[in-house]
Symmetry: C2
Subunit: 353 residues, 2 copies
């Protein structure tokens, strides 16, 4: 049993299939693979758990594989280059498909390699973390980090298919499940107040890994993301609201060194900072803070000097004309992209950290 | 005085401006630069000649610059990464423009860096070699070489403008002028028999750098390339005819080591090999050979073992389903993409080399 959503992007439209027990040969992935061969990109943690199950969905295809080291600190150009080396070594052609099996780091690296190899080969996402299932596997953003900032090197490269087997969450460490919930909460905050209320009511079930609750949360998150992406594929406008909390979050990750806090943890603290900067009332901030806290996520950034944070934010991609651009809230479920913010308030938020 | 052509690609359409004396402040390049700043990417040979003249066209813009080492052997991922490092160091934003000033190698590297930095920033081509002016600066192909093959890492990233100052050809070494003529001849061979005849009649004027002859040759080459690219931007079909001679040519470059023969030289010899494989009559082969020879370009590949060449061709991007794909001729001005060729004839051509 599975649900199928579609990301509507004209010729680049693709399905998101969400369900239990899709791996292990139950989903015909071969039907979505155009050429004779594919390269499965995974990591040392996920491959032992799910690579065999994925292979069973790829009957009659030539399957090569590569295991990357695990962790955000490996999301660098050299790792993407190692995937390309593997494609060259296995004589991958223009009709080769790259399949990412893992979390957001694996998907981002594999996607950038797929985008760059021969100027773009087919790409399939099989996300196995909650964060990747609700966010990074959908929408075509791929890339790697640079010492100067997150995701500074990358490409827009849409997958042909996103295959979400929610059973993979059974092996996800608790800390990563919680980190994934940060992005789920984000959708409620920026575009769907009703979904936010549903999350408030179901946070216990989600943390207990109730499969129906997780499936509903994933499905709604993917629906909301697909809508925003369909409107603005290359983030020339509205898509930027998906970066809510990320200007602060990316700066936290950069200042700490990638891999210290999980991306979702940095975004959690960043969302609360962005909510404070929004000046949309204390009640709103407190409601977001309560849900973030209920998920066991950080509500405060780590101790980082205000100037260091400001400097780190200056290199964020969301800078236009050397003014900081933020995603701010008008109310729950309503966000805007703006460079019009109160510098004194920003200063106070950074100094309070 | 200048001509303007347009590459018709919907929202990604852009002008090609061709004329004499456009640099030195005579062309308002700033009008095509969206943001406050740009990075001029050039090399150690071209920058001393034209960087100042280019800067005069960029009044009121913040101009950063980087000089790459000169030569095809530097068209590698590490060099593209150095351009990205420079963009990060100068705090380039999403509205930064990368300007390539130089030949095909500079344009390909700078274009890939522009495509990958922040998932794509604006890009302008200012080609200063004949080859770049008639071929590589138009059409959006960017990328770098891999030890396993030419251009195996790259992106389609269209420039916002191609600015061709034909006066830059006055400083072009003779060998490079001739190499550029290989790609000019290619257009005649594959799509325009009349242009081929014009080239036969004007080869002396071109080699003598007659500015009117060069301008006409550049203009017609750009027109023909723009038409083919507009039909098939991402080379899913007909655009592949532009690779006429390149399956052989890329293999020659790969076997020799990049930088030994110039790209145009390898393509020249490759075109004659492809014409022979076409089985469209000796007269056609002889006519192409005569024009190639009149341009002082190689009509035979260097001595490379047939198996080594075949192996090198096996990694060419133009391989689909593990069959070699060639661009073959039906007649002068008429080419087709095909995997249907005579293996015995291919063998004989490779052994004759």
């Amino acid at each position: 049993m599975s649900d199928t959503l579609t990301v509507e992007l004209g010729a680049r439209s693709y399905p998101i299939v969400i369900g239990r027990g899709l791996l292990g040969g139950h989903f015909d992935l071969s039907a979505h693979i155009v050429g004779p061969d594919c390269l499965v990109v995974s990591n040392e943690t996920v491959a032992p758990l799910y690579a065999d199950a994925l292979r069973q969905c790829l009957a009659d295809r030539e399957v090569e594989s590569i295991e990357l080291p695990d962790g955000e600190q490996h999301k660098i150009l050299a790792t993407a280059a190692s995937v390309i080396d593997r494609l060259v070594a296995s004589r991958g052609g223009r009709d080769t498909t790259v399949i990412a099996l893992g979390g957001g780091v694996v998907g981002d690296i594999a996607g950038f390699a797929a985008a760059s190899y021969m100027r773009g080969v087919s790409f399939v996402q099989v996300p196995t973390t909650l964060l990747a299932q609700v966010d990074s596997s959908v929408g075509g953003k791929t890339g790697v980090n640079h010492p100067g900032g997150k995701n500074l090197i990358g490409a827009f490269h849409q997958p042909r298919l996103v295959l979400i087997d929610t059973d993979t969450l059974t092996t996800l460490p608790d800390r990563e499940l919680r980190a994934g919930l940060a992005e789920v909460i984000k959708y409620g905050v920026i575009v769907d107040a009703e979904f936010f209320a549903w999350l408030e009511a179901n946070v216990e079930a989600l943390l207990a890994r109730d499969s129906d609750a997780l499936r509903l949360a994933i499905r709604r998150s993917c629906e909301l993301k697909a809508e925003v992406v369909a409107d603005d594929e290359r983030e020339t406008g509205r898509r930027a609201i998906l970066n809510f909390g990320h200007t602060f979050g990316h700066a936290i990750e950069r200042c700490q060194g990638y891999g210290e806090w999980l991306h979702g943890e940095a975004v959690a603290a960043g969302m609360i900072m962005a909510a404070r900067l929004s000046d949309a009332g204390n009640e709103l901030v407190e409601r977001i803070e309560a849900l973030v806290e209920a998920c066991g996520l950080p509500v405060r950034p780590p101790a980082i000097d205000a100037d260091t944070m400001l400097n780190a934010m200056g290199l964020d991609k969301k800078v236009v004309d050397r003014k900081l651009r933020f995603i701010l809230l008008d109310a729950l479920g309503s966000a805007r992209v703006t460079t019009d913010y109160d510098p004194a308030r920003l200063d106070a938020i950074l100094k309070a950290a």
